[in-house]
């Protein structure tokens, strides 16, 4: 309330003052100075971040939206073609509909909620260990997320290497499961499962840490009270106490999981070493954008696909919001 009152007052004044026959220019100047004294330093502190945010986030997003209504090949200036790009995404882009969209949905549905539930369960287990083992486990589980994708590519390429020196081939051949080596990263039927495993492996990121901290913050009194009230099974406890008490962290974790899932889209190309991936088996939206934007220079079309991707992220975040928002 108080904030609102201090905000409204100066405007009341400026409106009243137009009734008097005073110089409007000096009035404006005075009200600007008043504004500057009140709010200037707030904007001063905000300015460097706001400028960077505007240049590197707002402008690219707006540019993507605008470009998506044009034909643009990076040579000639963009030509407006209305909704044509979106219409071809939906009706003509055979690869998008047959491979990219189903792949992205499979990948997102398994990696997103899968990684998220896994992160929560692991955080929940870790919270019930004493401090030192908890810290060690948290460090181990988090370590894949801090490793650069380029560094991990070294590992995965050797682990899943297509000849007999690859670890997986050598192991399975040693066990007698395989007779001859499999080209894991080049075969359409194996690429997607490997992508999913690799991404799940590195999904205990910042959202996982947030959920762990959230569980640790819940007051023990709540559990005691529930125990007195007759809540007995562990699952009941998770659903009626733990999750409702840490909704904010759950939501933060969910948003981070969704963003991480879509951000991880380059993994198929990293693993197989080519874009498009073998028979489009690991082609996700992100790769499709790169394919059209940087390889075919159909930037307007790529922008339309980018907008579709951003809308998907927004949609899934809304769903997460529905699940966890609101008062417990």
């Amino acid at each position: 309330m108080q904030i609102r009152r201090t905000l409204q007052k100066p405007f009341g004044k400026t409106l009243d003052s137009t009734l008097y026959t005073e110089n409007i220019g000096s009035k404006l100047r005075r009200s600007f100075r008043g504004w500057f004294e009140r709010e200037g330093s707030a904007y001063g502190f905000l300015a460097p971040y706001a400028a960077l945010f505007f240049v590197f986030i707002v402008v690219p997003v707006v540019a993507a939206i605008l470009l998506s209504f044009t034909f643009f090949d990076a040579v000639q200036p963009p030509r407006v073609i209305g909704l044509a790009n979106y219409i071809s995404v939906l009706t003509q882009d055979d690869i998008f509909m047959r491979y990219v969209l189903p792949n992205t949905i499979t990948f997102a549905v398994i990696v997103g909620p899968g990684g998220y539930v896994l992160a929560f369960l692991l955080a929940w287990m870790l919270a019930q260990l004493p401090r030192i083992p908890r810290t060690i486990f948290a460090l181990i589980l988090y370590s894949p997320s801090m490793t650069a994708a380029v560094a991990m590519a070294v590992v995965w390429r050797t682990l899943f290497s297509g000849d007999q020196t690859g670890y997986l081939n050598s192991f399975l051949m040693g066990m007698g499961v395989l007779q001859e080596p499999i080209q894991w990263l080049q075969s359409p039927q194996y690429l997607m499962p490997i992508m999913i495993i690799v991404t799940l492996w590195s999904s205990m990121g910042i959202g996982f840490l947030a959920m762990l901290a959230g569980i640790l913050e819940i007051s023990p009194d709540l559990y005691e009270a529930a125990s007195i009230d007759g809540l007995n099974s562990r699952w009941q406890e998770i659903f009626y106490i733990t999750i409702p008490s840490m909704r904010p962290q759950m939501l933060f974790g969910a948003v981070m999981a969704i963003v991480g899932t879509f951000q991880a889209g380059a993994i198929g190309v990293t693993l197989s070493g080519s874009n498009p991936t073998p028979q489009y088996a690991g082609q996700l939206i992100v790769n499709h954008i790169e394919d059209y934007g940087f390889l075919r220079y159909e930037m307007g079309y790529a922008a339309a696909v980018s907008v579709v991707l951003l809308l998907m992220v927004l949609f899934f975040s809304r769903v997460a919001n529905r699940l966890f928002a609101g008062d417990p």
């Binding site: 181990i140 589980l141 650069a148 070294v154 050797t158 992100v286 940087f294």
Partner: protein, 303 residues
């Protein structure tokens, strides 16, 4: 309040969240966690082990997981060989270190100043701007690579040092976490300082920054990872080989090992050594700062 005595004799239990010591009931968690952690650790162990493998072990059949006669040969190779374009690795390493240091320092100030303003200052657009930042948590930078390229091209930032630093500083999650943390500082602290005649700058520098050290450590880690591990910026926005980073160089090494057979023997050992150099700083910094990170994360909630 329930005392330990009543707890013991009435069967009322705190279900073991954040326990002080070991208890038999924890064994089942260890049974699940130890194998899982071991599995997740395998690739990390592999990075360490293969960085020290001599060539005959790297290409041994059947492959050996652990190194038997460790050597520094891969590292000496790495530092003596020039890249295809005649740049020594020390140059990439120097670029990476310099860029990362500047980015982390700048990010701490830019993000904390914005978070201070969004948390403690009063201005009309405050709520709206914070909402915009929260929506931007969902922003997927990889989706707008092309428009970003056009923006950077138009600002004449291609092939400059700035392009390594500036885009990484726009980190909505950093501002978000810092703002939540500063919210925890009571307004009275700031009001008392204002009565004593402290300027805005003095409040920010002398009061806010020292009080949010754990959150600053967290931002430092996030920015460090974003900058140190970044290969895309070098690939997309830099054509001058001498301004590219170690992460980029590593990506060329792995590309060489899959395409060229000739480069593959020396290349794979060097790639393993470079991967270890990439990984170690991440690990060390996280171990040093992990306590601070956890205390920041407890306030990370999205409402």
């Amino acid at each position: 309040m329930i005392t330990n005595w009543t707890r013991r004799y009435t069967g009322i239990r705190n279900r073991g969240i954040n326990p002080q010591g070991f208890h038999v009931s924890q064994i089942r968690f260890y049974v699940i966690l130890v194998p899982l952690a071991a599995l997740m650790l395998l690739p990390i162990i592999y990075i360490f082990s293969s960085a020290f493998k001599p060539p005959d072990e790297l290409f041994a059949y059947p492959p050996q997981f652990l190194v038997t006669s460790p050597t520094f040969k891969n590292f000496t190779d790495l530092f003596s060989v020039l890249s295809n374009s005649g740049i020594p690795i020390s140059r990439y390493l120097f670029n990476s270190i310099l860029i990362t240091l500047i980015t982390v320092a700048a990010s701490i100030f830019v993000s904390s100043a914005a978070a201070y303003s969004l948390s403690k200052k009063r201005f009309k657009l405050k709520q709206v701007l914070f909402e915009i930042n929260t929506v931007a948590l969902m922003f997927v930078p990889i989706a707008v690579t092309i428009p970003r390229f056009l923006v950077i091209e138009n600002l004449n930032l291609l092939d400059t040092f700035w392009v390594h630093i500036l885009p990484v500083l726009a980190l909505p999650v950093g501002v978000f976490l810092l703002k939540q943390f500063i919210d925890g500082i009571p307004d009275e602290v700031i009001e008392a300082a204002q009565i004593d005649g402290a300027s805005d700058w003095r409040i920010y520098w002398g009061i806010i920054l020292p009080m949010i050290r754990p959150a600053l450590a967290t931002i430092a880690i996030l920015t460090f990872q974003a900058a140190w591990n970044n290969a895309e910026i070098s690939t997309l926005y830099i054509n001058n080989e001498s301004m590219r980073t170690l992460a980029f160089y590593l990506s060329t090494l792995t590309a060489a090992t899959t395409t060229g057979v000739a480069t593959s023997v020396a290349g794979q050992g060097m790639a393993a050594a470079a991967a270890l150099i990439m990984f170690l700083p991440n690990l060390i910094i996280f171990i040093l700062l992990q306590g601070q990170v956890m205390s920041t994360m407890s306030r990370s909630g999205l409402k």
